[in-house]
């Protein structure tokens, strides 16, 4: 710590979003220990999230964004913390009825969610390998427990163990990569890595390059990029639906935001071989994600493969580098958050509760349009957004990524993105087609699907997500303006 003491106050102010998240985790834990009722605990959690979100505005401009060598809460970090906190808010709302409402004892879930959100927040604000690892582990460890939360059922446990093993591996890769880079460069701060004279121009030696690629492998696991994607469909399928939403959004989004910062700040894109490797991964990810989704019959698996493909699209924007790339990735991530939360939200609302009985088979959605038109409408909007059809955020996001990629003349990636999106249409349309089936097929759907009534909070959340999706899809200007300042501060 080399910060002068008088800066302590402003540093605390700057850190307030993270401090509040950590604080509310403690408060929620204490509350749950003394008063075991889910409702007040959930309310406290929501209040903590709201406070943390509000403090983003306090933090902005309260002082120098660099707090110690570890964390930097610039506009970029604040934007993503905001996104993470908002996504966690939605997940908390979705969890409440799903896990049994006031009748069951699921208070610990909220503590874990808050901790995971804190991990994500630290991750996007990290400017040093130490904080990077710290954030990542905080996120991963909370996620093991979250995935396997319904611990008396088989599928979540299996998914939790799968995730545990693979996340352990990926952390090991990351650590080893960091060690190698440190061995060569003697620093763990991103900015200093970038400032070292022409590290990447001269070309890293074998150590450094190995380190960088190990970091990419570790990140690839977290982001479920092909060929590190094997765990994704199983974990998404096994985890409780709202938790799948959390993994798809917060965990992946935080990692990608952190990786983008690292690449931009440390100038890693100067290394030809890294860019080549990433381009290859992007191509394979888009194609494999879309191809594997084509023959699935389980909605959660389709969404898992679709999220793999979406990460591939994001990587295309990522590879454009520069200010436009940051904006494109940020917009796309925001769109992706809204869409994935909405899609998994619908699955959650339709499910009875325990993940053994999640409504995730395609045939349970037959004729949903005629049974529950609003829910089916929201789901359709989300799927069309994933497919990148106009009027939705997904379209503007894809457009943004394409603009960034065309601006950087990444023709191969652009063509692959177009081909991948065309393939993707098939499985999104398949779900929509099933939902608007009528006649005999719809009857089987009615038989198969459990009749669950959505709570008011759930309906409200889904409605807000759908409105946001369309509003920012038709008039994206406010968000774009915000992102422009974000990008300027990073690049």
């Amino acid at each position: 710590m080399n910060t002068p003491p008088f800066a302590l106050h402003s540093n605390l102010m700057v850190l307030s979003p993270l401090i509040l998240l950590a604080g509310s985790a403690v408060v929620v834990m204490l509350a749950a220990a003394f008063y075991r009722h889910p409702r007040p605990v959930m309310m406290l959690t929501l209040a903590g999230l709201v406070l943390s979100f509000a403090s983003l505005f306090l933090s902005q401009g309260a002082g120098s964004p660099q707090v110690t060598a570890l964390l930097v809460l610039d506009h970029y970090a604040l934007f993503f913390i905001g996104l993470i906190v908002a996504a966690t808010f939605v997940v908390v709302v979705l969890c409440y009825r799903y896990f049994g409402g006031d009748e069951s004892r699921h208070e610990a879930l909220y503590i874990l969610l808050l901790l995971a959100a804190l991990g994500g927040g630290v991750l996007v604000a990290s400017s040093h390998f130490a904080s990077f690892l710290l954030g990542l582990e905080l996120l991963s460890i909370s996620l093991f427990a979250l995935i396997a939360y319904p611990r008396f059922t088989e599928r979540p446990l299996e998914a939790g163990i799968k995730y545990l093993i693979l996340a352990g591996f990926s952390s090991a890769f990351l650590l080893f990569g960091m060690a190698l880079i440190y061995a060569q460069l003697g620093t763990m701060q991103f900015a200093q890595i970038g400032a070292l004279p022409a590290v990447f121009e001269r070309g890293l030696d074998a150590y450094g390059l190995a380190g960088l690629s190990l970091i990419l492998v570790g990140a690839g696991f977290k982001l479920a990029l092909v060929p590190f994607h094997m765990w994704t469909p199983d974990v998404y399928e096994g985890a409780p639906a709202p938790i799948s939403a959390f993994i798809a959004t917060v965990s992946k989004g935080a990692m990608l935001a952190m990786l983008l910062r690292y690449f931009v700040v440390a100038d890693a894109h100067q290394s030809q071989s890294v860019v080549m490797a990433l381009s290859l991964i992007a191509v394979v990810t888009i194609l494999a994600g879309n191809l594997l989704a084509l023959r699935q019959d389980n909605i959660k698996r389709i969404l898992a493969y679709s999220s793999i493909a979406q990460l591939g699209y994001l990587l295309v924007g990522f590879l454009a580098f520069g200010a436009m790339a940051v904006e494109a990735v940020a917009y796309y991530l925001a769109a992706y958050f809204v869409t994935m939360l909405g899609a998994f939200g619908v699955v959650t609302v339709l499910s009875r509760g325990t993940p053994e009985q999640d409504s995730d088979m395609l045939n349970e959605y037959a004729g949903l349009f005629w049974r529950r038109p609003w829910l089916a409408g929201v789901f359709t909007a989300m799927l069309l957004s994933l497919a990148g059809i106009p009027l939705t955020m997904g379209f503007i996001g894809k457009f943004y990524v394409l603009i960034a990629a065309v601006g950087a003349s990444l023709w191969l990636l652009v063509i692959v993105l177009a081909v991948g999106s065309a393939m993707g249409l098939y499985y999104y349309l398949r779900i929509i087609a099933v939902m608007c089936a009528h006649g005999s097929e719809a009857v089987t759907g009615q038989m198969a699907a459990p009749k669950v009534k959505a709570s008011l909070a759930e309906s409200f959340t889904l409605a807000v997500l759908a409105l946001l999706l369309i509003w920012l899809g038709v008039y994206p200007d406010p968000l774009i303006r915000m992102l422009e300042t974000t990008a300027v501060h990073l690049a």
Partner: protein, 500 residues
């Protein structure tokens, strides 16, 4: 203002018919009819208003324009404008809108509110496509009209509706993505040479490009329009989609959606890439000519009424493609004429197919026969539109095909003579259609009631328009020539028009 109203009315009418159906079942069709009726009146009023303005070259042929900021970050504006060609296509869209509401009147019983929502939104998307002059906005409408069309086929379609609707959507949407990439490439080429990021049509018109870049970008646009028009190797979605769609869907597909492809070629491909379109024209014309013959041959081989008509569309739109790429005043006038005439006559054939299917629940031509004896009014209209489709003089299609061939023969007489063979082949399929359905023995013992007043009104008005187009085509041809000016002239004239 009037331009956004044209789109807004349809969007609002669609919403309203959906809401109203929930209150009072059976009222959606009235709302829909009123909406398209107002739309038609507005467009006709615009046409009458503009008849004098179109004659004035000072306006560069642009009758109305609207421009507003939309996404300044990308240089995207909400830019609508209307010239003669947009105007007549919008009139066609509104007219076929009325027809399609009328022909769904008894066919659509279930979920009628949602049906009319989709129908009107498809029309709104198509009107948007015909009016948009910002490439982003154009793409926006282009993709947007597909979604409600998809729902129309997927929900109210016939037996193989799922297959047909998904195929339709993937073909058109997937090819649209290539167009999006091409649009972005064009915009960035323009951005690099001028430093202005814009999607505006007029700004992009004279972008300097190397010939190979121009060719690649043009191909991106061409593929999207070729799928939609459809030009031959890209046509396979069309027979399925047309056959499986409900009657109104077939009418809108054939009459309006296919025209957006031809319109795209006319409005964007040739003017934006004049040189590349120049090299590419022989290929495109050859594809068009192949489409004319291939469509006609396949039409003859069909046993499904709607499938037959679908293949005739491939053949007829081939003329439009050939006419556009021949790019001289005759062929262009002919292409526009062909688009309008085909929209009406093929729409009418689909209405007839729909009427027969509604009564007999089959489209298989082997099961028909002797319909003339039991439904003389329908049979007469069937004969009328069949000979309109074969291009009998006095009907609109003849004028279009004749002008296209006249223009084409100046450019490429070999292709012109190949295309002229279509006059023979179209006689074969059209007469075979009449023969199989209306003549012969009534082997199945059909007892069907003839046209109702609503059906008669629909078909007679379509017949009247076909005759009018054939006997007095001048109003349509007057509207068309503004595009026949050389492309740069369009932009120059527009700038002068703005300066006033």
């Amino acid at each position: 203002m009037i331009l956004s109203t044209l789109i807004f009315i349809l969007v609002a009418g669609g919403m309203l018919s959906w809401v109203v159906e929930r209150w009072r079942p059976g009222s959606a069709k009235w709302v829909a009819l009123t909406t398209v009726g107002i739309e038609l009146l507005l467009t006709i009023w615009l046409w009458l208003q503009s008849a004098s303005a179109m004659a004035l070259p000072a306006h560069g042929g642009w009758l109305a324009e609207l421009r507003a900021e939309w996404i300044p970050r990308f240089g995207v504006s909400f830019h609508l404008a209307m010239d003669g060609i947009s105007l007549i296509l919008v009139v066609l869209t509104a007219f076929l809108g009325v027809v399609s509401v009328a022909c769904s009147w008894t066919e659509i019983q279930e979920r009628a509110g949602f049906f009319y929502l989709n129908l009107l939104w498809t029309l709104a998307g198509a009107v948007g496509v015909f009016l948009a002059l910002d490439l982003f906005l154009f793409f926006f409408f282009w993709e947007l009209m597909l979604v409600p069309m998809y729902f129309m086929i997927a929900i109210w379609g016939h037996e193989k509706r799922q297959y047909a609707s998904i195929k339709f959507f993937i073909f058109t949407e997937g090819s649209g993505l290539f167009m999006l990439v091409a649009i972005l490439a064009l915009v960035f080429v323009h951005y690099r040479s001028t430093g202005v990021l814009t999607f505006d049509y007029f700004e992009l018109l004279n972008t300097a490009m190397s010939p190979s870049t121009e060719l690649w970008i043009m191909l991106g646009f061409f593929i999207a329009f070729a799928v939609k028009t459809p030009i031959v190797p890209f046509h396979t979605w069309l027979p399925d989609a047309h056959t499986e769609a409900p009657t109104a869907g077939s009418v809108i597909l054939a009459g309006v959606l296919l025209k957006t492809g031809a319109y795209g070629l006319l409005r964007f491909v040739v003017p934006l890439f004049p040189q590349a379109a120049g090299y590419f024209a022989p290929v495109a014309m050859a594809l068009g000519a192949i489409g004319i013959l291939y469509g006609a041959f396949l039409a003859f081989a069909q046993t499904d009424f709607k499938r037959l008509v679908a293949y005739t569309s491939v053949s007829h739109l081939g003329f439009a493609v050939v006419g556009i790429f021949a790019w001289n005043p005759w062929s262009l006038g002919g292409a526009v004429m062909q688009m309008i005439a085909h929209g009406v006559s093929t729409g009418a054939l689909f209405v007839i197919a729909g009427i027969l299917q509604e009564r007999t629940h089959t489209r298989d031509m082997h099961r028909f026969g002797g319909v003339w004896g039991i439904m003389p009014r329908l049979a007469a209209m069937g004969l009328f539109f069949a000979i309109a489709a074969l291009g009998l003089p006095g009907m609109g299609n003849f004028v279009g095909e004749f002008l296209v061939l006249m223009g084409l023969s100046r450019v490429n007489s070999v292709l012109a003579s190949v295309a002229a063979v279509a006059f023979v082949t179209s006689v074969v399929y059209a007469l075979a259609l009449v023969q199989k359905i209306f003549h012969g023995e009534n082997t199945q013992g059909w007892q069907l009631h003839d046209l109702s007043g609503r059906e008669m009104a629909t078909l007679y008005s379509m017949a009247a328009i076909t005759l009018w187009l054939g006997l007095y085509p001048q109003p349509v041809l007057d509207a068309a020539p503004s595009i026949a000016n050389r492309p740069p002239a369009i932009a120059v004239a527009h700038r002068e028009g703005n300066a006033e």
